[in-house]
């Protein structure tokens, strides 16, 4: 008997019989879609077997549905004597599967009509390349309790960091059976987080997964389903924490994992490297002033003091030799502006808890800047300050390059002067992420003065923008994307951290992008070398961008960027082609938001009832 191409495996425990029947029917419907002659369990090359394992169901009607399904020669029903949990049942199903690929399907979910023919086409297209597919996932939507489809989840291409933070993949997952067997199938004791555990172990074993940006599965929302709310399965959160911790340990990442504040999300607290890293702040400034929250400030002073207050390190110098300003970082800013300075950062123990990194402050000061600014910076930063006079015409990229060349840290933090650190341990968080050798750059969460989001990672979706610009600063975002560390195609240089070797390897910023898009070009060159770029919500700054003046976009810069990166700017792999182009807010393209297509049925009613 020839092995089928696909084995759909389903653990069954007390589903609504109607939902189980729909799931089984959706598998049978895969056979023959767009194919020629009859084959095993299907037509042409799309051969499908369905392995159902009844995990001791007692609900009336379930047995009858399974008995009926068993009459199909390509459906295998295994009956367990007693309920053993989803891991045991799923492993029993895997043991009976014979297909080249295993398709994971819950007992009440529904495969899209052409799901497996689509998967087969994608797998076939890759088979001829040097990069055959081992694991594949698709987008999905939800089936509401009233039976309508809604809430499509359009996912990014493979995002390892995001997968560590939460199972953003969920459904549909198709994996080469040998790959699943090689990692040992489902892990006992992970019930409720077994899929996340399996995905993490597959990621370790076979590397990046392939993403098919089509809705190939409809995930049913039922009262007890995770699709309705992760809070329905609280014990799953603790198991998810454990499987993530185990994955990080296997991956050689020293970290503590906690249950996150959002359902289904974990908080990873990575250890810092030894010896204690020195982070060089690279801050270009002309001593600009502004009035966020009504009181005048010299931006760079508050940018520096907000960081040094959270990183006491070596004690600041007591007094300036000139004696015109006294020590104490915030007070210095106040005296210079003759105003009230800055309100305290939202410190969770700022200053009384060592962040674990040392700070060097490298400031590139424009010619003509008020000399009091440099004097005040010396008072604030003491011997941690390196001043680089800059007397050339304004060129942001060049200033950054000059600053990095003058710095001595193992890590560089590119920082705009109109910022103020919010999270005292933010820089340490970024350093810990950047310590992964395949991570090239780490970006931060930036908020406007009113607390709305300024930067949630770049999006190159027929334009260059910041993800979820203007949304509430504490919003988790669609599909938790603002609540988790995740890969991006780029991050703003207003607050971006790199290992020095990465900066040197890509040759620094391109000075041809004097004002605009230097960070976009820089990000894409980092990706091109093969590094990942990670955005984290756990390092955040205020960015008083409105106060720093308008920077009109230079048409030459736009054309240069388009010429160099046109394709990348239209195909952001961490966005999704089903999202509306030219937007940064995860709005679906017209017609893809989930409403069922309007159809006139045979009896004259419409599909919308």
């Amino acid at each position: 008997m020839t092995a089928p191409r696909f084995s759909v495996v389903t653990a069954v425990f007390d589903p609504d019989p109607a939902h189980l029947r729909a799931a089984i029917a959706s598998v049978r419907d895969q056979r023959g879609v767009g194919q020629g002659g009859v084959g095993l369990g299907g037509v042409g090359r799309i051969t499908v077997e369905h392995v159902l394992v009844d995990d001791g169901s007692t609900r009336p009607g379930v047995r009858e549905v399974l008995d009926e399904a068993e009459r199909d020669p390509y459906t295998i029903v295994v009956r367990r004597d007693a309920n053993g949990g989803i891991v045991a049942a799923s492993n029993d199903a895997l043991a009976r599967a014979t297909g080249e690929f295993v398709v994971l399907l819950d007992h009440d979910d529904v495969l899209a009509t052409s799901a497996l023919s689509t998967v087969a086409a994608v797998v076939d297209a890759a088979d001829g390349t040097s990069d055959p597919i081992d694991v594949l996932y698709s987008d999905h939507d939800l089936i509401r309790p009233d039976g309508r489809r809604a809430s499509p989840v359009f996912k990014p291409d493979f995002s390892l960091e995001r997968l560590r933070n939460h199972n953003y993949i969920t459904h549909l997952v198709v994996a080469r059976r040998t790959a699943i067997v090689d990692v040992g199938g489902f892990t006992p004791g992970t019930d409720g987080a077994q899929d996340h555990d399996l995905l993490l172990r597959l990621a370790e074993a076979v590397g990046p997964f392939t993403h098919v940006p089509q809705i190939l599965l409809h995930w049913r929302q039922s009262p007890a389903s995770v699709a309705t709310s992760s809070e329905n399965k609280p014990e799953a959160s603790e198991r998810q924490r454990k499987v993530t911790a185990a994955h990080l340990e296997r991956s050689g990442i020293d970290a503590r994992v906690e249950v996150g504040t959002h359902p289904g999300v974990v908080r990873i607290r990575r250890s810092l490297p030894e010896p204690r890293p020195l982070v060089s702040l690279i801050i270009p400034t002309n001593g600009a002033r502004g009035r966020p929250w009504g009181a005048e400030r010299v931006f760079v002073l508050d940018a520096v003091s907000s960081i040094l207050d959270a990183h006491p390190g070596r004690a600041p110098v007591d007094a300036d030799p000139a004696g015109s300003v006294s020590a104490g970082s915030r007070d210095v800013g106040r005296q210079l502006t003759d105003g009230a300075g800055t309100p305290a950062v939202d410190a969770e123990g700022a200053g009384d808890d060592d962040p674990g990194v040392d700070i060097e402050v490298v400031v590139m000061i424009d010619d003509g800047t008020d000399p009091l600014v440099e004097r005040a910076l010396r008072t604030i930063a003491g011997d941690r300050l390196v001043v680089v006079p800059y007397d050339l015409p304004y060129n942001f990229a060049d200033k950054i390059n000059v600053g990095v060349a003058a710095s001595s840290g193992s890590h560089v933090l590119l920082l705009n002067d109109d910022t103020q650190l919010i999270t005292p341990h933010g820089i340490a968080e970024m350093v810990a992420i950047a310590e992964q050798r395949d991570v090239g750059m780490v970006g931060a969460k930036l908020l406007f003065a009113d607390g709305t989001l300024q930067h949630g990672g770049h999006v190159y979706n027929d334009m260059v923008s910041h993800a979820m610009l203007g949304w509430p600063g504490d919003h988790p975002g669609p599909h938790r994307l603002l609540a988790v560390e995740r890969e991006c195609s780029g991050v703003t240089a207003a607050a971006a951290l790199l290992r020095r070797e990465v900066f040197d390897e890509v040759g620094g910023m391109d000075v041809e992008f004097a004002i605009n898009y230097n960070d976009v070009d820089f990000s894409l060159r980092i990706l091109e070398v093969g590094y990942r770029i990670i955005w984290t919500p756990h390092a955040s700054w205020f960015h008083f961008e409105q106060q720093s003046g308008d920077h009109p976009v230079d048409r030459v810069d736009v054309e240069r960027l388009e010429q160099r990166w046109g394709d990348a700017l239209r195909n952001d792999r961490f966005s999704n082609p089903n999202l509306a182009p030219g937007r940064c807010d995860w709005l679906e393209r017209p017609g893809l938001a989930g409403s069922p297509p309007y159809e006139v049925l045979a009896d004259g009613r419409t599909s919308w009832g």
Partner: protein, 106 residues
Amino acid sequence: MSEVVQSLSDEVERLRRLVGPSERGFADLQADVTAAEKHARQADAAAGELRGRLAEMSVDLSRARQEQDIAMRRVDMSPSERWADRANRRWSASVRPRVQRLARRS
């Protein structure tokens, strides 16, 4: 003389009214400014919360308008036009980007 004194006294009173209760020292004035900034920040945050919600709701509104628009167009379509419309959307949203991606990969 008394007129001069009276005039100066009036001026002092006027200035006191302008300065308010903190005329006694710079520290008090600074405390006032700090308190004012705190209130300004709270007001800004409150406005930001509303702006953020507006941004979120504007996406929902755009989504609803898109859906309404496409539904109205579909009502007027013949079955073949509906089929062509669906195929076109699938082509532009899913097939073409994937083909481009595979082409880039190879």
